[in-house]
Amino acid sequence: MAKEVKKPAKPDEPDLLPAMGLFTILIPMLLSMTAFSKLAIVEVNLPERSMMQMDNETPPEPDEQALNLSLAVTSDYLVIGARGGFQPNVYFKEMWTFRCKSDAKLITHSPDDVKKAVESGHGPKCKDGSEMDKEKYLYEIESIELWAINKESEEDPGKVIWALYSNGGSAEEPIADSAYVDGNNNFIALPGEGAYGLTPPPSLKKPGPGVALATLTPNSARTLKPDVANKNIIYPLSAYDLIAKDLIAIHTQFIDLEDVDNIIIVANDDTQFDKIIQMMDRAKDAGFTKINLAKLGG
């Protein structure tokens, strides 16, 4: 007689209802404790009134050994000054990046183009052809980028410098994160082609996997892995990065001076607050812990 094969019984599903109940309680509780965007503070110290110079007192003798470092922000360039002298100006082309509400994509325009469009009754143009609100566009700027430009003379409009950046965004929407430097601490960068150098130079190629590179962050030398090498982007070099590199070099060179941690950021009246914070970030990253603010020509 053939042996009857017993069919395995269908396993019972575990009772998930109590776990579901627990999850239903946990999720609203965690939702109330979740922070999707974190706020932080950037400290700046003013001299206290008791320590301020009174009018009838004689001013102290200037310390000739002091570094007296300052960083000036104008509408066209950034410049570092120390001991009465100045480094070469770092010229830039200001660009505004907006995120369009219609297609949720980033668009970048120069302030002049935006103002021209607004004067003719239009808002900044999105990628899908729609226009942003011409009344509110100014307060919808997502980021203010300063593209470093290479100038031969004061009259020269200059050419945008393109550099190799790590990608802080996605493949579809790349965001320039950290600029790479080579073994000699030079940016991997070249001036662009065409009018104002707005076309990336063909000779500036993305290094392949296995190439050793670093960023401005200390101890950041690494060999590019294939996925990172493929993600890297060629993007206009930021004037903030050029200044950051100089600030790091100055702080390292004059580390023995008493006022090596002090810096004064000097700006024009119309400089946006965002630029001041970006400069303060670069100065803090370079090791300048005591940041003072002053007005240009004031």
Partner: protein, 164 residues
């Protein structure tokens, strides 16, 4: 011909497994973004704070001054229009100074009652829209300093939402 409707058996069990998967993903996401310490600083309305690499968190609740495109607000009270501040020549914003001096006097009184030194520099957090001109920011900062709030901190958004 009458259309036949399909009959479903009555004992089809309700599967919770896929729901559990979804809940588990949400739970992990929530735990990742959990801020157990709480926030001493909340962003004011009608302004976009600049993004910064700073990770310094405020250690105590301080008086907050907000500078947006329309008003300068001290402790949730509209004090003066931002355009008026931009138009004035003087560094000292008189209306803001009056409010800040009153607040400082109250703070000093409280400190004395608690047996703490009252002459210590006051702490203030300034929330400024990223597109506000430096002129307005500088005048507000100078006014804060004049009123005795010399420990000034600017509120910023952490880069990448504070993720490493």
């Amino acid at each position: 011909m009458a259309r036949r409707t399909r009959k479903y058996s009555e004992d089809v069990p309700f599967s919770l497994t896929s729901m559990m998967d979804m809940m588990t993903i949400i739970l992990v996401f929530m735990i990742k973004n959990l801020d157990a310490e709480g926030q001493l600083l909340t962003q004011a309305e009608n302004l976009i704070l600049p993004i910064s690499t700073s990770k310094i968190q405020p250690t105590e609740v301080s008086l907050t001054v907000v500078v947006d495109k329309a008003y300068i607000i001290v402790d949730n009270e509209k004090v003066v229009a931002t355009d008026d501040v931009l138009a004035q020549e003087d560094l000292l914003v008189e209306k803001v100074n009056e409010v800040l001096k009153d607040r400082r006097a109250i703070e000093q009184e409280h400190a004395l009652k608690m047996g703490l030194p009252a002459d210590e520099a006051g702490h203030i957090i300034v929330q400024i829209d990223k597109n506000i001109p430096y002129d307005a920011m500088y005048k507000v900062m100078a006014t804060c300093g004049y009123a005795g709030y010399t420990n000034i901190a600017f509120a910023v958004m952490e880069k990448n939402g504070g993720e490493e």
